[in-house]
Amino acid sequence: MTTKQSGTYFPAGVVEEFLPRIGRVVEIKDHQLAVFRASDGTIFAADNHNPHPKGGPLAEGIVSGHYLYDPLYDWKIDLTTGLVQAPDNGQVQMYPVKVENGQVWIAV
């Protein structure tokens, strides 16, 4: 389970609708995603389900570079792969994102 390789791109709003380093929930079909805009402008879309056994959201975490510190249990997650960093284990499903003319597209 890494980034999905295929899927259909849906328009998820313009870049400005995502505050830098403040996550936002995006719902596409029956998927709930946490979308993050990193300082360098890269946009990541993660499944908004905390990999921790107790679950919960991810969208309210602290973004540092291309990493996320989850809001509930402080796990560190690499947004480029979805991999939870040591000492914890797990992986978050990431979704492909593309930005064209300021429009964010996410594939599910």
Binding site: V26, E27, G56, P71
Partner: protein, 809 residues
């Protein structure tokens, strides 16, 4: 003051002259002071030029007194102006353009100049000394254009220059006349180790080489030596020595040998004219180091102000090499001779070397290489010609980790002894700021007095003084960063933010060299707090650096819904408010309503997108149940209704809560106010617990009923409500300014020491007032977060609302 002020003229705007002026300003206001300086800058720290060259500091970093300082003290400063002569007949100084300025007294502090070898070609382009900012700039420029450099002179200055040029990317050869580097400060053993270390760092050496000519056309192209060999270079730094700048004294007919001759009170041969610093010759010695300047300057300042002072009897000089990663120190006599007893220890694996020389069992000199932790201690022992004892030997030469604490030596140190040679700070001054201004860290002492801010060599002594004055309130220990992103501790970071005026977490992390450029979940919220604490009026709070609860102004629960807790000041509400809470809870389908431990109501299970609507309909202020801030003031019933109540605890609780709400603190903060000693609101487990009695209030601090239970300590008793509020404010502000982020007061009180906190906020009325003023200032800039979120439609929607994508790709 009656009568006219005397005109005091300082010739030379460098460290020696200005530090003397600083000392004079402490003693008297009877002088009108005028300063003449040849360089176009205010007073800067010449010994730190090596760091500027190395790139670890900027020119701004090394300015000691900026132009405002001169203005503040009403000092007239003429930069870029050279005084050429003193006319003793007319009592005037004459500048190069013929301007005449009358004087009553003069201090000459012209320092020294680079000694340029008088060999053929010494005046070619690309040949400089290493003495001032201008030289430094030439070197920085040269490094951009040229590749090969030579530094003539393997002394302190030459090696620092060489290292700087290597850092700037040049190929550097140090040319030295002698066979040993720094032969005037080191013994052959330490010299050899130093050379090996510097070779590892990329410096090349040509030893025993006498320069006979500099080759080239307009610009230098090479060096020819006495043995006819040639070294091709494009840039030459002359660092063979310095010579006292005595021009003005010679022109004025004063007695000059190598330097301007002075007596033990720094008086020259000309009446009312004094001399201080490197231009001066005292008992046949011209000093080329910084520490003696301060010793001379202090004595001169006292003397010129008519304050009784001991005469100046010369200085024991010590040397420290200011090259990052190479620690060398020497003091007193260090070349072995038959009359010395030598104690030495050389360790080729650790690359350390330590040597102490005794004469008649008294310590007279020392050399340290690789590990200079004992330098400050040795300097003192040697200055006092201390007898070597078993105990001292054990602590100086012992294996292991330093053995016993050496605080005793600090205890016996006289008050006026200079601890920081670079900035002329005495033990008395340091003790004074610790006791009267409540400083508790080396960094605070640095910011306040300047001690340790230059070479850092006196840091161990400053730490010992801290330890000795604060006793158990001082925590030393290994340096630990606040998180894995940095090796810097809290105090260091706060000091840097203040000193450099840093404004955002990104800037802090960038400037202070964080390993993770945007930090982590530990340091981001912490730095955001420190920035706001330091500049409450200008800091832009970073939502993205806040934990979820504080970002959303509500407590997240494990299912991603939130808990809303409205304020109930002092735990008192009204039927109308309760009704509204009930209506809103029903309307928004709140999952549970719970009474909290802090006398208010939890509305648990509000959806993220409903938060702003719930707040708007409640129309109550936030209870900050999620924040590192004042949460609740728990109260008992008190004198309004209770038959035992002696004080109106409900009213006082509400008053305190209204006064201090919304302010960011290092951690969550809880109060209790009781109307009588029965203590029904349980003051003993609160950050501040207040117990009323018939004649006023008693204040307890540092209580905690949480993870690590702790009973609060009694801090003091006060008589009036106003005094109570003022003490609460002072305690909270002192905690704000000195607490580590996330450190509860229970830990803070133990770390700082109750006595120390008492001495700052209770006993020192001036400090209490100042703290209160600062907290009042910070309180002017807080804002009700729920109202703010309701008003900020757009930001609110991006924060609180998701985006629903219609199912059309």
């Amino acid at each position: 003051m009656n009568g006219k002020k005397e005109n005091l003229i300082i010739i030379g705007n460098g460290m020696a002259g200005i530090s003397t002026v600083e000392q004079i300003l402490k003693l008297t206001t009877r002088f009108d002071i005028t300063v003449f300086g040849t360089e176009p800058y205010p007073n800067y720290n010449r010994i730190m030029l090596s760091y500027v060259l190395e790139g670890s500091k900027t020119l701004d970093d090394i300015v000691l007194n900026d132009l405002h300082w001169y203005e503040d003290y009403g000092i007239t400063l003429h930069t870029g102006t050279t005084v050429t002569r003193i006319d003793a007949e007319t009592h005037e100084v004459v500048t190069e353009d013929g301007t005449r300025v009358p004087y009553d007294k003069i201090i000459i502090a012209t320092g020294s100049n680079s000694f340029i070898l008088p060999v053929p070609g010494h005046d070619k382009e690309g040949v400089v000394g290493f003495r001032d900012i201008a030289d430094c700039n030439v070197m920085l420029e040269a490094a951009k254009q040229y590749k090969r450099a030579a530094v003539i002179g393997g002394g302190l200055l030459g090696l620092e220059a060489a290292k700087g040029l290597v850092q700037l990317g040049m190929e550097v050869t140090v040319v030295h006349l002698m066979e040993d580097l720094m032969e005037r400060q080191l013994d052959p053993q330490a010299s050899a180790m130093l050379k090996a270390e510097l070779e590892r760092q990329g410096i090349r050496f040509k030893m025993g080489a006498q320069t006979s000519e500099l080759l080239g056309g307009e610009r230098v192209e090479g060096i020819r030596f006495a043995d006819d060999t040639v070294l091709n270079v494009d840039f030459v730094v002359m660092a063979v020595g310095i010579k006292p700048n005595t021009t003005v004294a010679r022109e004025s007919g004063m007695e000059v040998n190598r330097g301007i001759v002075v007596n033990d009170y720094m008086q020259t041969s000309l009446e009312n004219v004094y001399s201080v610093g490197e231009c001066t010759e005292h008992r046949g010695v011209c000093y080329g180091l910084v520490a003696p300047l301060f010793e001379q300057g202090m004595i001169l300042a006292k003397h010129i102000c008519g304050v009784e002072t001991a005469p100046y009897e010369g200085s024991v000089v010590s040397t420290k090499l200011k090259i990052s990663g190479v620690d060398v120190f020497s003091t007193g006599e260090f070349i072995d001779s038959p009359e010395h007893t030598v104690i030495s220890h050389k360790d080729d694996w650790k690359r350390t070397y330590k040597k102490i020389l005794l004469r008649d069992n008294k310590m007279v000199g020392a050399v340290l290489f690789g590990d200079i932790t004992d330098s400050a201690e040795l300097q003192k022992l040697i200055k006092n010609q201390t007898e070597m004892t078993e105990e001292l030997y054990g602590s100086l030469m012992g294996t292991g980790c330093g053995g016993h604490k050496k605080a005793t030596s600090v205890e016996t140190m006289p008050e006026d002894e200079i601890v920081c040679g670079c900035n002329g700070v005495t033990k008395g001054t340091i003790v004074d700021v610790i006791t009267n201004q409540g400083l508790t860290t080396v960094d605070e002492i640095k910011a306040c007095t300047g001690a340790t801010r230059s070479c850092g060599g006196c840091k161990p002594v400053v730490e010992q003084i801290l330890q000795y004055v604060l006793g158990d309130g001082f925590s030393s220990g290994a340096k630990q960063g606040i998180c894995g992103c940095t090796s810097m501790g809290r105090d260091e970071i706060v000091a840097e933010i203040r000193a450099k005026g840093l404004q955002t977490t990104k800037e802090v992390m960038n400037v202070l060299g964080w390993s993770q450029p945007e930090g982590c979940s530990k340091c981001r919220p912490a730095i955001n707090y420190y920035l706001g604490m330091i500049a409450p009026d200008t800091h832009e709070d970073e939502k993205e650096s806040r934990f979820v609860n504080e970002r959303m102004n509500a407590n997240i629960q494990k299912d991603g819904t939130y808990t809303v807790v409205p304020r109930m000041y002092g735990g008192v509400t009204t039927p109308a408010d309760l009704k509204r809470i009930a209506d809103v809870s029903v309307k928004y389908d709140v999952k549970a309503v719970k009474v909290t431990g802090g006398q208010r109501l939890d509305l648990i299970g509000v959806k993220k997108e409903d938060l702003t609507k719930v707040w708007a309909e409640l129309d109550m202020p936030s209870g900050y149940a999620y924040a590192k801030s004042l949460r609740t003031v728990k109260t008992c019933v008190g004198s309004q209704f209770c038959r035992f109540g002696t004080q109106d605890s409900m009213a006082m609780g509400a008053r305190i809560e209204r006064k201090f709400e919304r302010l960011d603190l290092p951690a969550k903060f809880k109060y209790a106010v009781n109307g009588c000693p029965r203590n029904c609101a349980e003051a003993c487990t609160k950050d501040i617990g207040i117990v009323g009695n018939d004649g006023g209030w008693e204040i307890f601090i540092g209580g905690n009923g949480g993870i690590k239970a702790r009973l609060a300590d009694s801090l003091c008793k006060v008589k009036t409500d106003e005094e109570l509020i003022e003490l609460c404010g002072a305690i909270m502000q002192y905690y704000r300014e000195t607490g580590n982020y996330l450190e509860r007061t229970s830990e803070w009180v133990e770390r700082m020491g109750l006595e120390h906190i008492r001495s700052v906020v209770v006993d020192n009325l001036e400090e209490r007032k100042a703290l209160m003023q600062r907290i009042e200032f910070a309180l002017e800039h807080v804002e009700e977060p729920w109202q703010k979120a309701i008003r900020n439609e757009e930001g609110q929607s991006k924060m609180f609302h998701g985006i629903e994508v219609s199912a059309r790709p």
